[in-house]
């Protein structure tokens, strides 16, 4: 697998395609196959794109949490951002299910001492009245800042920010 990935010098989608073609039998596989690709464009951002299913919520939270920890966020800050991301990914997953092609995209960017996150769904399968409502969004608004919900024909993106005290101290 490492050789397959290392040989790829193109973008993430092409790498995943090559990986699946190389490792998965051409005939119908015996089990579901999930390939997770994380492209770290630079040290200051994290990009995750996965099928929008409930089982992916936990690994997405873990990836975002580890990424923030590695950049000096405190345990409370990591927990709050993971909670917000978890709520938003769940919101996408619950409405995507049982659609097979719904995906959730999470982008995390560090801008000075502030982390900026957006969680998007792709596709227009969610009825507008179901977008962004319920107890989940209330929790998001309580634990992070500048929560903004933007809905277009292409899907919904929820953005938020969170100041990171540890980085503020380092910067000053």
């Amino acid at each position: 697998m490492a050789a397959t990935v290392a040989a790829a010098r193109d973008d993430v989608d092409a790498r995943v395609d090559r990986l699946v073609r190389t490792l998965v039998p051409a005939e119908r596989p015996a089990d579901d196959v999930a390939v997770l690709a994380v492209a770290r464009h630079t040290d200051a951002s994290l990009h995750i794109e996965l099928p929008a299913t409930p089982v992916h919520a936990s690994p997405i939270r873990a990836m975002v949490g580890r990424w923030l920890e590695a950049r000096g966020a405190t345990p409370d800050e990591v927990a709050d951002v993971a909670l917000a991301v978890g709520e938003l990914v769940s919101n996408v997953a619950v409405h995507a299910y049982p659609m097979v092609d719904g995906r959730v995209v999470v982008n995390v960017v560090l801008d000075g001492d502030t982390v900026c996150v957006d969680v998007s769904d792709t596709g227009s399968w969610r009825p507008p009245q179901d977008r962004g409502g319920g107890r989940g969004l209330g929790i998001v608004r309580a634990v992070v800042e500048d929560v903004d919900v933007a809905t277009t024909a292409a899907g919904t993106t929820v953005r938020f920010t969170r100041g990171l005290d540890a980085l503020r101290t380092v910067a000053s």
């Binding site: 919520a57 909670l83 978890g86 989940g136």
Partner: protein, 120 residues
């Protein structure tokens, strides 16, 4: 599910639920409760509840993640026990993931007696 004679335990994805025995049914939940397992955990605990038991205590001390999906499961259990006229209590000490979310959402009263004393 395994049984060692004194308790039942079952794993649901990233969470493990250990059940004591009535009349005081303690459900100790370790790990993460989220959209992937909340419904199954709710059903597992609900199935163990009996009309003649004294109380259900849900211990979230070792729960490392709880969000609105898990809260919906807790509220579902509280409603079921209300109908059975059996008291429910939730243990979520300060500093735990569960304490934070229960406090934010103001669900303390809805979840019966919530044992989350103030620090200090």
């Amino acid at each position: 599910m395994t049984s060692d004679g004194s308790s039942d335990a079952a794993t649901f994805g990233s969470a493990t639920v250990r059940l004591g025995r009535p009349p005081l049914l303690v459900a100790e939940i370790d790990g993460e409760i989220d959209i992937a397992n909340a419904h199954d955990i709710e059903r597992f605990v609900a199935d163990a509840c009996r009309q003649d038991m004294d109380r259900l205590e849900i211990d979230l001390t070792a729960t490392t993640y709880l969000d609105s999906a898990g809260l919906a499961a807790l509220v579902g259990l509280a409603e079921r026990l209300d109908a059975m006229r059996v008291p429910i209590s939730v243990v979520a000490p300060p500093g735990t993931a569960a304490h934070r979310v229960i406090e934010i959402t103001g669900l303390v009263r809805r979840l019966g007696r919530v044992d989350m004393p103030s620090p200090g």
